[in-house]
Symmetry: C2
Subunit: 381 residues, 2 copies
């Protein structure tokens, strides 16, 4: 099913290493219209490499029912982004490469490329995320410092989102050991702007990480997307203060979906900033009043070998496009609706081969008509 | 094994009813030296009734190795206590009688007689205990009120210990629906004294309950003993604020031992009054921020039929005293030490009959040389 000529002679344990040319193709593909992390993987798995997938995008979109061809990120744009990134001290690390954070590889939708600034070594620490409300109380900030310092003393690194309040306190308390800031926008669009200095203070021992292009201003919906990286990098996520329906609770939910431990700091039921954390504890999050509570849960997990994820393979030769028969495509599309359905069910109900079903889904995706969800579910947009 | 002539023709479901004469004997027996709730039951079970047990006390103590005869509560003392109690509006209810709180019957060491003041009906409500620190914060008092009111609206009655702080707030918020104050001393020795007025306000719809004699000033060690009644009366115990190593945590532990639900109100890790409750939550207590959290857990249990406990039978004729052979007694005593051991093990290791082992234990108990623990364990004093 796969084209031959994989990069190097990778075993499952040995990291891959992209050539500059391949890295350029990867960047072009992930930056192209309607290509997200899940589509990227489907494309690479189907076509055997980014170059072949890029070549197939126009045909896929047309067959998926799109009138206009998808906007493909040009070679020049990608070269410019890589060059500007380099000047900023940002490098691109591909999934499967040695510097790619091992736990992040295991999530459902890992970014194929991360733009990394600072010390890659910070990403090799056992990481714990500490997040919470921007509008933090003095007590919340104090507790965050205590927890972060306790975790750092025990050899953990701290991940957070560079936001005001709890996030900033978590980073500040872990500058020396190594702290990782995950950005919702491009590396040149630090949010909030007043934390540019904090970011500079993070980089000597820590790192900043983004999956978004340079120049990308973070929008509201980019924060939940970013939050999956915060939890994905970490063994566990600690929520210090969080109101109801806050972004920190989204991070907690994502952490659960990713199989990460969720910790929450309890607070008075009369304190609105404790509503979210108390709610998490009611739902089963581990209550935390000191770093030892977190360490006791994470120490036993820390040493565990991660299940090896097969790295995305990079074909030198473009793969053939298997074109579904027109009636097959019609049958598969008819089975789809805005209600998410599993790909397995689609294969069963359509009586088509898994390969054909996946191809039709790719077409629809590139045409901007399909959404991929977690757990192998898809729906029409 | 049992003497004939039980009181009435009691079925397991039908309550017993003591005659005045029997109630007097019960009071004399439970007030006699070295007779606690567990010994009381062992004596009644062995001798078939309180009158016979009273008659046997001197011989038991002598055979148990006591030089002095145990102080037996005299008929006159008991009559005086009943009369003084009556004047105070206090009546004695025996285990197995209709007014005896059904859940209290099920604990390991229920008081054979409770001295009850106020409305017996309050004890028939589904009860929830709310306890906490005497040195309560304003927030703790406010939360207690909210929780108590919410529980009362849902048809629960509130049990507490009449202490300053959380206890008093719990009683005050439930005066109308019915609240039960469990006293650590006699009914005429209200503690703290400034809560005499609160107690008076409790009685029109609620009740006060004690197992201690009139005139008994509560000592420090009487409070843990009292606390087992607070949890024993209740479906669950809510701890609102509690420092480390506080009496409320003893109540929580007793509640767990009695199979009661334990609820705790979370608080900031920086608040010392939340250390105990946060600790309970870490150990698995249900976190509570509103009455609904308690109701959700207790509603499903409320309706459950309690397993019927066989009431203590009251024999009209004194039973025979089975005297162990001297070498049997020596053998059994030699197996005992200050380390608690199970009665089952004693029977097995001594090769004596269970009846003989129980008799030797009774002798030692009445002689003041034996302590009974929960779970059928005994140790030498």
């Amino acid at each position: 099913m796969r084209a031959s000529g994989f990069v190097g002679e990778v075993s499952e344990k040995e990291p891959i290493r992209l050539t500059d040319e391949q890295r350029l193709d990867w960047l072009r593909l992930i930056r192209s219209e309607n290509v997200g992390p899940r589509t990227f993987r489907a494309l690479i798995n189907h076509f055997g490499g980014a170059r072949a997938a890029l070549g197939a995008l126009p045909a896929l979109a047309r067959r998926g029912g799109s009138a206009a061809a998808p906007t493909v990120y040009s070679r020049e744009e990608a070269e410019r982004e890589i060059e500007s990134s380099r000047k900023l001290g940002v490098r691109f690390v591909a999934i499967g490469e040695a510097d790619y954070p091992p736990r992040l590889q295991m999530i459902d939708d890992p970014p194929p490329l991360i733009a990394l600034r600072g010390q890659g070594a910070a990403l090799t620490l056992p990481l714990v995320a500490i997040v919470g409300s921007r509008n933090a109380s003095a007590a919340g900030v104090k507790l965050t410092q205590r927890l972060a310092q306790g975790l750092c003393q025990a050899g953990f690194g701290i991940v957070s989102g560079l936001a005001r309040g709890i996030d900033a306190a978590a980073h500040r308390a872990s500058l020396e050991t190594g702290t990782v800031a995950v950005l919702a926008g491009g590396h040149d669009r630090v949010y909030p702007p007043e934390h540019v200095d904090l970011l500079e203070a993070i980089l000597p021992a820590g790192a900043a990480l983004s999956e978004m292009p340079l120049g990308w201003e973070p929008r509201a919906r980019d924060f939940p997307r970013r939050n999956r990286l915060i939890s994905g990098l970490s063994l566990g996520v600690v929520i210090v203060e969080a109101a109801k329906r806050s972004g920190s609770l989204i991070t907690a939910r994502l952490a659960l979906e990713q199989g990460r431990e969720v910790f929450a700091v309890p607070g008075s039921p009369l304190d609105p900033r404790a509503e979210g954390t108390n709610g998490l504890i009611k739902q089963g999050a581990t209550p935390v009043t000191e770093a030892a509570d977190i360490i006791a849960v994470l120490r036993p997990i820390m040493g565990l070998e991660l299940p090896a994820r097969e790295p995305e393979r990079e074909a030198v030769e473009p793969a053939e496009i298997a074109e579904p028969a027109p009636d097959e495509r019609t049958r598969i599309v008819a089975l789809l609706s805005p209600t998410p359905v599993s790909i397995d069910d689609l294969v069963r109900l359509s009586h088509s081969s898994p390969r054909v079903v996946r191809m039709v889904l790719l077409e629809l995706e590139i045409a901007g008509r399909l959404e991929r969800h977690g757990g192998g579910l898809v729906s029409l947009l």
